[in-house]
Symmetry: D2
Subunit: 263 residues, 4 copies
Amino acid sequence: MCRWIAYRGETIALEHYVTAPARSLVAQSIHALESTAATHGDGFGLGWYADHPEPGLYREVRPAWSDENLRYLCRHIQSHLFFAHVRSATGTPITRPNCHPFACGNWLFMHNGFIGDWNRIRRRVEGLIPDELYGSRAGTTDSEAVFLAMLGAGLDRDPIGATARTMAAITEMTREEGRADPLRFTAAIANGRDLYAFRYAVNDQANTLYYRASGQDVVCVSEPLDEDRTGWHAVAPDHVVVARAGRRVEVQPFAVANALAAE
Amino acid sequence: MCRWIAYRGETIALEHYVTAPARSLVAQSIHALESTAATHGDGFGLGWYADHPEPGLYREVRPAWSDENLRYLCRHIQSHLFFAHVRSATGTPITRPNCHPFACGNWLFMHNGFIGDWNRIRRRVEGLIPDELYGSRAGTTDSEAVFLAMLGAGLDRDPIGATARTMAAITEMTREEGRADPLRFTAAIANGRDLYAFRYAVNDQANTLYYRASGQDVVCVSEPLDEDRTGWHAVAPDHVVVARAGRRVEVQPFAVANALAAE
Amino acid sequence: MCRWIAYRGETIALEHYVTAPARSLVAQSIHALESTAATHGDGFGLGWYADHPEPGLYREVRPAWSDENLRYLCRHIQSHLFFAHVRSATGTPITRPNCHPFACGNWLFMHNGFIGDWNRIRRRVEGLIPDELYGSRAGTTDSEAVFLAMLGAGLDRDPIGATARTMAAITEMTREEGRADPLRFTAAIANGRDLYAFRYAVNDQANTLYYRASGQDVVCVSEPLDEDRTGWHAVAPDHVVVARAGRRVEVQPFAVANALAAE
Amino acid sequence: MCRWIAYRGETIALEHYVTAPARSLVAQSIHALESTAATHGDGFGLGWYADHPEPGLYREVRPAWSDENLRYLCRHIQSHLFFAHVRSATGTPITRPNCHPFACGNWLFMHNGFIGDWNRIRRRVEGLIPDELYGSRAGTTDSEAVFLAMLGAGLDRDPIGATARTMAAITEMTREEGRADPLRFTAAIANGRDLYAFRYAVNDQANTLYYRASGQDVVCVSEPLDEDRTGWHAVAPDHVVVARAGRRVEVQPFAVANALAAE
């Protein structure tokens, strides 16, 4: 299990959410409250949009809590849309290319959860990645493979639909031969303007997802950043938080079942 | 606070104590029971004696729990006298030279605790290091400075006395001008044949120290390595475990006060 | 391009070849003479056999020349069969799982070269890996994929044949559609008793391979370890050095063409 | 020997000098032309000023040439005053706190060279650091000690004078007892507005320093960033490049001898 935050709104320094709050992401890295893992010390990452269509990335294998570089970057980098993630590995090695977020073209992706029985279905999930994107597979995580599969399913023209279709395909894999392998997918994607945060699971409980909005600013999190939970809304399973550029945040059903039926 | 183990006895693979037991040192790195810090993810180290008078060292800034190299080394390296340490930093940077154990000549040293108000007395503790050893100061920890001061105080010819004299000098520093700065020193030294493990504190509680002996084999630890505590002896504050080559383990008073009086 | 050494013979400390000679592997890491890359600072690794059927591994992303751990390990670890490798990356990330040597079961493998147009054939080379070994793919290099494919082709019962069959299959891939993608494979494998070192290339020059033998001791290298080249034998392309347990070293033709014809 | 660049002028992305030019600093890290070391792979660092009086820092022990984070940061961070440095270590460990640049309060500092016989004079150079700054000594390099000594000598109110007085004091140390220990000091300091770049040596050749100016923009470098050296001015030994806010660059004599005489 991992912890993450995603922000879209007025341009601010990353420190406002990553390092400063009482229950900041860095504080969660050494001691999370709502995670099955208390410690998230298996690497971390930042992704942010600034003056280019494609995002910047900073990923490191050391724990977030002791990384001086992270504190400097969060204080000195400002962004209108950024991701931050602290990892608790579920089997794949602790390497930078296995740290979240992942970037490809204009897109950022990060994930909290796991994708079925990964050793069993890994090759088939990788098979969902189109040839032209397979060279972008720099690591070995389930998360990165899902992201590249989502891009192949049409993230650019239909972000929610592409995600639903990919989840539908993998959900089928978890159910075949009478199996019911657990899949947890609490994840965020962004393209520099719009932010989407999903809470989905099959054969298992969905990992938590919260958001807090103020005007057009929105922050989505694994768990609230304050001791006081006022203003934080829990997102129900099978829902997606949609924060499109210039619009207020909405929460919509995330209908993987429909995508399943449509296939 | 840190966690450590020290072993002297029949030649065995390091894995028997570092990675294999239910409450092994690596298990303690992610979740310790008797430490003020639950997580010890700020680097770690191994020191061991094999075919040379001077020890081997492996130190790394990543957490012990996710380091594949550590597992391989603990399985494939055997020794009659070895140290292992997982760190929870108390202010100095996470670098390899700041990880325990420290080696100098034939000696190994590691420490759990802290040395008074380090920023206040650092320069004077460093002043206890003789010129000919100052070039060996590769890091910035209080622990390494104390070790080099102990070497300067005569560790080679009188290990317990040199340690007591060094602790006496630093104890005086913690008490000057009406101060009572806490100092905790639960530490181990070895020279390839003999092992000494100290439990000492001033103006504060002493960090825990346990040992278990079987014939001439002895293992000293911050906290027991088994769920079952049978066979583990708690060492009282102001005592030292002495395991000299070819002799059974003894526990003796560690009389810093006498060293103080003698000055 | 990379640099490597492989040793089989009397049990000795790794330092005799890895760190001590004038042109030791660590010296080659900062300045190689016969490589297209002068610097090999993209990580390194050690693999060695001791008291277990499976080998030990130490791999690290930092350059070999500045790693204190490497010097300690080479001085304190002894082995009758060991590999050491310094990497100059050809496109895949600098991560520990991408460093050589690779271990699987009782086998060790390391490689100097590259495998055709990797982005073009990667998925198909990965397709040569049997399902039961695919979970062992911890990194993303061409080298590791080739190793797992070789295991799938029967390394256990026929090391040279399995290697030839794998090279034949990949050689076909480099030639399809009128292409002539270069492939260089100067590589070593070992199973704890026997050592094999291959020099092969297609559509390109083969990377250098030398060996020096004394009784049953043999060391195979990318380039000689001494300024004086006396005693070092250059291995011709399309040949394999065979050093089976208890037997003198032999050099045999490595007949990939036959494997091609047999398919 | 190290390589570095310092820029002050219009706000630009760091990539313009650190990664983009033909002979960029990252290109120099793998192959420098005017350095006694061809390879500068012992860590690197960035320091830059943005919206705060104090600078941001990113320092890492891996070689600059393979660090993906560095490429992202240089593309996405913009600054009107920044430093970048690639290290070839001269004896002190490869740790982040030993990487340049160093930051303290509003000041940045970086250095190419070495400070006499460091093991002989280290304790006395550290003695030049005032007590209130000694807690800022996070590493063990000669360079950081000199920087903190310069701060103690009055960098805030008289940057050139404080640097000259510190160099004078250390120059005396290199000359005592009939010695003539070499000292090389090609270094840069900045406070967020003004930039100073020094070229000084005693008992040895001074390391190279060049600058290129265009209006109020100036970049100071160890060696030119282009194959074409047009526009690059070599700075003579015992001179300092002065680039004060809102003023054109000037080159002035750097009169350590006067500071010596004045003592």
